[in-house]
């Protein structure tokens, strides 16, 4: 067996190293810290709570690969949920309400994209504005009211099992796996994903090679909105109620997942596998802390620290390698001079 074969067999895509390491360490830490942690049924069940963050992160991966950002996803979710709630309160059948939510999400995402592209504005500024605008819209629609009393058949999809028995396979996990596969193929196989990667890494050359950068970026925003609309339906089912602050702050959690998964925040580079593993890692960290009764502030702090480390460590490593190479070259040059 040659050494190259050996390394290939054990080679891990470098973007997965960080999150995988975090995942493994968190699992060990949780198991050592609490006898209740390694309970397959609970672990699988608890994934349900991360379904919206996971789906938003998948969609945001495309937006961020394009070199854009969408800060408004949680507000789109809220506005879509508000539309759904208002329609339901007016007596519309729940299926139509859900479709309306998804459609609302799509339209709001499309509006983001159109403003960014037609006016050539930075997406950071545009979606920062729509973050406030869409949340404001939600508050106008719902005011202080709470819409509850959704039909039993609709509420609690996260407590339903696709495969029964022990440990069981809950619906949200199935949804997330299916979504990941779809997103993986969009990014990997379909032309659309390829364009995304190209637009992010070198927007101008892609433009000149006859491919419309703008339609690629626009479609990512629309997709991000559409997914936010789907998440509105899921969170409404999960919570059984709608309130105007629904999903507040989810955008930051989702962006954290994307960046932790190795997607470059400046665009051009990113993978669905990275986002999926990063979601699992963040889940493991949160769950290992919460089961040991560690408070929210500390949990947030831990995630923040891990994010910085994951971004920083590869940079430091390459800086060290660079320095070593430079030193080597310097030494070689010196010895060459000495030889002359």
């Amino acid at each position: 067996m040659t050494s190259t074969k050996k390394t290939r067999r054990f080679a891990l895509p470098s973007h997965l190293t960080g999150p995988l390491l975090i995942l493994i360490i968190a699992m060990i830490y949780g198991s050592l810290g609490s006898e209740y942690f390694l309970d397959p049924a609970s672990i699988i069940f608890n994934t349900g709570r991360y379904i919206e963050i996971g789906l938003l992160a998948l969609a945001l991966t495309f937006v961020i690969i394009n070199g854009d950002i969408d800060l408004s996803v949680a507000s789109i979710l809220a506005a879509s949920a508000a539309v759904m709630a208002k329609l339901f309160a007016a007596g519309t059948p729940i299926l139509w309400c859900a479709l309306a939510a998804v459609f609302t999400g799509f339209i709001l995402g499309l509006i983001n994209g159109l403003i960014v592209i037609k006016f050539g504005l930075p997406s950071l500024v545009v979606t920062l504005a729509t973050l406030a605008l869409y949340r404001g819209l939600t508050q106008v629609l719902l005011e202080d009211s709470v819409v509850a009393d959704y039909p039993e058949s609709f509420v609690g999809f996260d407590q339903r099992l696709v495969i029964g028995g022990y440990p069981g396979f809950p619906a949200p996990l199935a949804v997330f796996i299916v979504a990941s596969i779809i997103f993986y193929f969009i990014l990997r196989k379909a032309n659309y994903g390829l364009l995304n990667v190209m637009t992010g890494s070198n927007a101008s050359s892609t433009k000149f090679s006859g491919i419309s950068v703008n339609s690629v970026r626009l479609s990512a925003f629309a997709l991000s909105g559409l997914v936010s609309g789907i998440c509105a339906v899921l969170i409404t089912s999960r919570l059984g109620s709608t309130i105007s602050n629904v999903g507040l702050g989810l955008e930051l959690l989702a962006i954290t997942v994307v960046v932790l998964g190795g997607t470059d925040i400046f665009g051009g580079r990113g993978t669905i596998s990275g986002t999926v593993v990063a979601l699992l890692a963040i889940m493991a960290v949160r769950e290992s802390l919460v089961i040991q009764d560690i408070n929210g502030q500390v949990q947030d702090g831990a995630i923040g620290l891990l994010l910085i480390l994951t971004v920083l460590v590869p940079r430091i490593r390459s800086a060290i390698v660079d320095k070593r190479n430079r030193k080597k070259r310097f030494n070689e040059a010196q010895s060459q001079i000495a030889n002359h």
Binding site: D39, N46, L239, S241, N245, V246, G249, N295, Q297
Partner: protein, 327 residues
Amino acid sequence: MSLVLAGLSVASVGPANAAKKKYKVTYIPKNLGNPYFDAIVGGFNKAGKKLNMTVKVVAPAQAGATDQIPFIEAAIQQKVDAIAISPNDADALCPTLKRAMRAGIVVLTVNGDTTASCRQASITPTDFSVLGQYLVDQTAKLIGDKGDWAFLSATSTAPDQNAWLAGAQKYIDGGAKPNMKLVATVYGDDQPEKSATEAQALLARFPNLKAINAPTTVGIAAAAQVLSTSPLKGKVVVTGLGTPNQMRQYVKDGTVKSFSLWDPGLQGEIAANLIVQMKTKKLKPKQGLKFSVKGVGPGSWTMGKDAQIIAGPPQEFDASNIDKFNF
């Protein structure tokens, strides 16, 4: 009331009977580092010691509707005996709390409530429906039942304060304290500066003013601060609802004679005892059920509609007792 009382089951358990099993309880406040909720935790721990109970306290960093859910799920996973929660949302926690109840865990709400079907009983700090009346009587006691007085409230849209002010007005309209005259109701918007300005304006506008009642912790502290440096100190009464920590200096320097709130810790003590009674005595909370705990607050309680428990009457604070409270 007597009709209800006739049909109720009575259960009482002393701490000694309960000290066989080690009970595991998780209390989830709205947030941490808040002296008010720390006082509730204090009540839990005080009762927990006597009841052979370990009380874990965990809370999210934010007070969003769903932020408490992970902590409820962790408690279910840890197979605790009971979850007590001061909910951040009345509805969003329901599916998770129902799952906890299905797992055989006792679920109580403390200082705030969810939809009634999502918990077994709810503990409220005091009877808010009679608080308006209480504010009038509280003021009357300090000014000898006669003279001009005014309310310094929070915002003009604050639902709690407005309900109390309406209750006070109804009580006055019903003929209570005929020699007292409510001359104004002003709003400090729960901002210290605005509240202070409004308090100053009251003192200037009504030279015969005998008392300012501020049923808001921000308002009462601001009014006390204004009065503490005013020549009217000692002549005009400031009272209302405040926290001992905010008001301590004004009680000590004589600006404020007495004010009230409720003792948040009492809710924790009642919750801890109720949990044990539900476990040992198979107590099933419902309207009209009576239970008692020796040496805690009023000593016995009768559950109201939807198994609501009113912890006790408002607690009055003055120079003699204020140092016993820390919130």
